[in-house]
Each structure stands twice: as structure tokens, then as C-alpha cells.
């Protein structure tokens, strides 16, 4: 058992400040336990989101010592002895109160993506696909929508752009649809123009931040960028499309 100092940002849209709290840390505690301890002992009005406490609901995202992370999965024994732990709300989203943010922008992005459009069923009424074909897509289904990838992405976090960038979470969703063996929709134009695939400069912070270890950059964003190259920037692919108009370079069905 040891005493730790927590430096927690307290405030709302009108402003705020860091407030220090002291917490008795027991072996096995995570940051979220300490926040509950602060609520119990010092500040019952401290706001934060949490739910499952098992790294599966994605609610308790915040910035811990400047790095986006899940407070329920950040163990206290990962900090140095005597190290002050700084807690802040996610930078990329508007603050509601204390550590709670308004992440509703993400849901609006999701609504902008056209839903899954499967091909017609087989004559026996079944949809058939092979495991090897959906392995790639299933990786993206692990997403818990914690939005840490969105928070750490410098385009959403720090940049002024003339274009919109949907963010890593939704590039992964677009990839899961575009790579799906049953999906028939052509989404490449939108990946380029409306989701802003060209804005991503592959600095991989989203992949580093993902608590589910999804290969967002290598398996979603870069493959989508390559599909955009197929369509818009590769003269050989353009020639192949002209010579073999019935054969799409990205096989849809």
C-alpha cells in the first residue's frame, strides 16, 4: 500500500483547473479504482464515464499522463514509485464535465457510412462465405468504440484541415465493409473524397493507442489507401480496367 498523488482536471465548457488528490493505492488497483476512491473520499461530484471495468465497453477513455488510455486497464503498478498521475479528458472531443467528453461526433460519422449491402442469397437461401475471407473483417469487429484512436489521431486532435477526415475508427469500419466478401457497394470514391484517406500520414498513433490491438494502420487504412491508388493513381490498373472492363481489380462478388 502506498499513497499516490492524482492531478485531475476539474471543469466544464466554461473552464477549469487541475486539482490534486491523494489516494491510498492497494496492490492490484487500476486508475479507475483510484478515481472511484477520489469520488468516495474527496470529490463525490467528480465526473467520469465507466461501465464494464473490464476493457470491453470503451467508456472510460481518458488521457493518463498525457497518453490516451482506458482507465480500467491501466494498472497502478505501471507507474514509477512516487510518480504523480495526471488525468485529463480526451483532447479531441468537447468537454462536458471533468473527465467526461461528448463523443457524439463519432456517431454522426458512423451514420454517414452506407450500411452493409450484401449480394443476393444463394438459391438455397443461404449466404455463404469462407472463414479465410472474413478473417480480415473480423479483426475490425473487435473494436469497442473507446475512440482512443480518434483522440490520438493528430488530424482530429490538433489540425485545421480544409477537408473532413473520418478518423481511424471509421476508416476501419469502411475497410470492414469494403473488404467484406458479401458486400456489393463500391466505397472507394467516398473513402478518398469524403472520409479523407489522403489526410492520414501513417504515423500509427491510432494503432499504438488501440486497447484491442487492432492493426488499424496496417490492415485498414493502408489497404484502403492502396485501393484508392488502384482506382485513381495507378496507370497500369487504369489500363487493365480499360482492357478488361468486366474484371474489377477489387473483386466484389
Amino acid at each position: 500500500m502506498s499513497e499516490r498523488t492524482f492531478r485531475v482536471w476539474r471543469g466544464n465548457q466554461d473552464g477549469g483547473e487541475f486539482v490534486d488528490y491523494s489516494v491510498e493505492v492497494q496492490p492490484g488497483m487500476v486508475v479507475l479504482d483510484c478515481i472511484h476512491e477520489i469520488q468516495k473520499e474527496h470529490a463525490s461530484d467528480l465526473s467520469c464515464r465507466w461501465n464494464c471495468k473490464a476493457g470491453k465497453c470503451g467508456s472510460c477513455s481518458m488521457e493518463i499522463n498525457g497518453k490516451p488510455g482506458l482507465s480500467c486497464m491501466t494498472r497502478m503498478n505501471t507507474f514509477e514509485e512516487g510518480e504523480t498521475v495526471t488525468l485529463q479528458p480526451m483532447k479531441a472531443f468537447p468537454v462536458i464535465k471533468d473527465l467526461a467528453c461528448d463523443v457524439s461526433w463519432n456517431y454522426k460519422q458512423n451514420e454517414r457510412i452506407r450500411p452493409f449491402a450484401p449480394r443476393e442469397r444463394d438459391p438455397d437461401g443461404e449466404h455463404r462465405m469462407m472463414q479465410e475471407d472474413v478473417d480480415r473483417v473480423q479483426e475490425f469487429r473487435k473494436c469497442i468504440e473507446c475512440f482512443l484512436c480518434q483522440d490520438t489521431c493528430h488530424i482530429l486532435r490538433d489540425r485545421e484541415t480544409e477537408q473532413n477526415f473520418a478518423g481511424p475508427r471509421f476508416m476501419a469500419r469502411l475497410a470492414s465493409l469494403d473488404m467484406h466478401p458479401l458486400d456489393t457497394d463500391d466505397r472507394i470514391q467516398e473513402v478518398k473524397d469524403e472520409s479523407g484517406s489522403g489526410l492520414c500520414n501513417i504515423t500509427r498513433c491510432c494503432t499504438e493507442a488501440c486497447p484491442e490491438h487492432i492493426g488499424i494502420t496496417d490492415n485498414a487504412i493502408i489497404p484502403l489507401k492502396e485501393r484508392v491508388v488502384d482506382r485513381f493513381y495507378d496507370p497500369l490498373m487504369w489500363l487493365m480496367r480499360k482492357l478488361r472492363p468486366g474484371k474489377k481489380e477489387t473483386v466484389k462478388n
Binding site: 497518453k67 483532447k91 462465405m129 490520438t152 485545421e160 484541415t161 477537408q163 489526410l199 489497404p223 466484389k252
Partner: protein
């Protein structure tokens, strides 16, 4: 999708704004308290060392061949330059000796410079691997972080606060990576051929190891099969560069990633395309270490050839054992 609105492009506090949440907004500021600068600094040092070395060796234009080893910086050797000691294995070059007229023209072009600038065969070669690595998806991360601070680290404010275009305007050129990749794949075959040649020691008419054109003025009379430490160094160079190239994201896409269905709809079998894609994916997961190992090893291979060429080290090999030297 609906059209994006300006409201949707702006979220967290920007430079000059009141930083809610206690966040910082100035260039290179962060609330991280770990040594996040370590990665960008190591990258900068690694790149810097390589760039300095490769330029030095390319501008040397000589001492790139120590029979039977050819430095990868000079492969494929388009022409031999008879002006230079140990830089002219005429039999190894694609187009023989460089015409005297070309040498004179070059001297006329650069003669005004305060330093001697040889017409190095490396000038014609290094552009290809440089463009491959320069547009590589891994190296982009490395130099966007280390060189331009865009951003320098995760959750670190970017160096520049101007309007951000990413890879949509000038940097659209990064999309040429696929073509650089085609060139890099060709280089793997070329370097494999060089490794094959590194197993055959050129000998003169008496069976003694051949001495370079610059000294003997003659081409070798024959070749003797064998193996040396240099052959192993060149083999590992091919292995590491192959691992890096065939784990390239563009290669992975072109050979299978572009497909949505690998399996045959009737039999369910996946076939060769899937196997190759899986293999490339395995290498892709190791792309960063392979990028650095192959970068280091290609430099080391050149250094080895340079050192043997000058007699700084002895190349242990079967040819010298056979001749009792």
C-alpha cells in the same frame, strides 16, 4: 455519405485557443512524462548515419568490388569505370567500360567544383532503392515523426500549426510507392544474381585469383566455385532485403490484398494467392524491424566489400584455403 461540414472538421482546442481539459496547444508540447523523444531521435540518428555513409560511398565511385564480391550500392553495375582502382570489374558490368567521351563530358560538367566528383555508377542505382524506402509506409511514419514533427510523437502537438493537407497535395507523390516497389522487387533478383556470382571466384589463365582490370588489364580466364564469409554477407543481404520488400504494404496489396474473396466459392479451397498473401502478411507484421535490419545490412555489406578491397580485413573463404594462402 453526406457532404462534410466545416463544423465536423474541428474538435479539440487549437493553438491560441483556451485549452479546455488542461491540454497544451503549442508546437511540440505534450503532457506525456515518458521519454517520447527516444524513438524520433534514434530514427534521426539511424537515418543520418545511413545517408552520410551512402553519399560518401556513392561519391567515392571506387573500391566497390573485391573479387568475387560486388557492393550492393553498385549493383546492377551498368558500366565499369576504368579510371578507378578496384572499381572496374569490366566482366561484371552490363555495358562494359564507360566510353571515354562520357567521362570527358562529365569532367567538363563538374570540373569547376572545388572537389573531385567522379562519375560514379552508384548514381544510376541508388535512386531506385531510395525511392522505395522514401515512399515506404513504415519510413513515412519514421520521417514524418522525426524530421517534420507531424506529429513528433503520439499526443505531442505538431511542429507546424498551418493548414494541414496530409498526403493530398504535394505529397500525392507518395502514391508512386507501388512503382518504386516494382523496381525494388527487380533488385531482389539482381542481388540474388550477385550472390550467385559471389560463389564464383574469377581466376586467371594459371588458375590464380584474378587481379582487377585496373591492374592486370585483362578479364578473367575462368571461374572457380567456392564460398566465403563475403558470400554469406551477400546472401543475408538478399534475405533481409527480400523480407523487407516482400512484406511491403503495396506488394501485399497487389499480390492478394486487393481481393475480397480468396476462397473458391464451390470448393472452399484458397489456393496459391492466399498462401502468398498470408506469407506477405507475416513479413508485413515485421516490416519495421526488417526495414532497419535490411538498411543496416546493406550498409554493412558495402562496408565489408570496401574493407576486403583495401585489405583491412581478410575474407575467409574456400578459395584461399584451396590455394593454401
Amino acid at each position: 455519405m453526406s457532404t462534410a461540414t466545416s463544423e465536423q472538421t474541428k474538435f479539440g482546442p487549437r493553438k491560441g485557443e483556451r485549452p479546455l481539459g488542461g491540454h497544451v496547444t503549442e508546437a511540440l508540447q505534450t503532457q506525456r512524462n515518458d521519454f517520447w523523444q527516444k524513438g524520433p531521435l534514434l530514427t534521426l540518428l539511424g537515418f543520418g548515419a545511413f545517408v552520410v555513409y551512402v553519399h560518401f560511398r556513392a561519391f567515392m565511385g571506387t573500391e566497390y568490388y573485391a573479387a568475387p564480391y560486388l557492393s550492393p550500392f553498385y549493383s546492377p553495375l551498368v558500366y565499369a569505370n576504368p579510371d578507378f582502382f578496384a572499381g572496374s570489374p569490366t566482366f561484371h558490368s552490363l555495358m562494359g567500360n564507360l566510353p571515354q567521351g562520357a567521362i570527358d563530358f562529365w569532367k567538363g560538367m563538374v570540373g569547376w567544383l572545388p572537389i573531385a566528383l567522379p562519375l560514379s555508377p552508384a548514381f544510376f542505382i541508388l535512386l531506385f532503392p531510395a525511392s522505395f524506402r522514401g515512399t515506404c509506409y513504415y519510413y513515412r511514419k519514421a520521417y514524418y515523426r522525426s524530421l517534420v514533427g507531424s506529429p513528433a510523437g503520439c499526443s505531442v502537438c505538431p511542429l507546424s500549426s498551418g493548414t494541414y493537407h496530409g498526403e493530398t497535395k504535394l505529397l500525392l507523390i507518395q502514391n508512386l510507392h507501388r512503382y518504386a516497389m516494382y523496381g525494388a522487387v527487380a533488385f531482389i533478383f539482381i542481388l540474388t544474381y550477385d550472390f550467385w556470382l559471389a560463389l564464383w571466384m574469377p581466376v586467371d589463365a594459371s588458375g590464380a585469383p584474378w587481379v582487377s582490370n585496373a591492374v592486370s588489364g585483362t578479364d578473367p580466364a575462368g571461374y572457380q566455385f567456392g564460398f566465403g564469409v563475403g558470400s554469406l554477407v551477400m546472401m543475408l543481404n538478399v534475405v533481409f532485403l527480400g523480407g523487407y520488400t516482400f512484406g511491403c504494404h503495396s506488394w501485399r496489396h497487389v499480390i492478394g490484398g486487393r481481393l475480397n474473396r480468396f476462397a473458391n466459392g464451390n470448393s472452399g479451397s484458397t489456393g496459391l494467392t492466399y498462401a502468398i498473401w498470408k506469407g506477405s502478411t507475416w513479413l508485413n507484421e515485421r516490416h519495421m524491424p526488417l526495414a532497419w535490419i535490411s538498411l543496416f545490412w546493406v550498409m554493412f555489406t558495402d562496408l565489408y566489400v570496401w574493407a576486403v578491397c583495401n585489405g583491412w580485413i581478410t575474407d575467409y573463404n574456400t578459395w584461399s584455403m584451396a590455394s593454401g594462402q
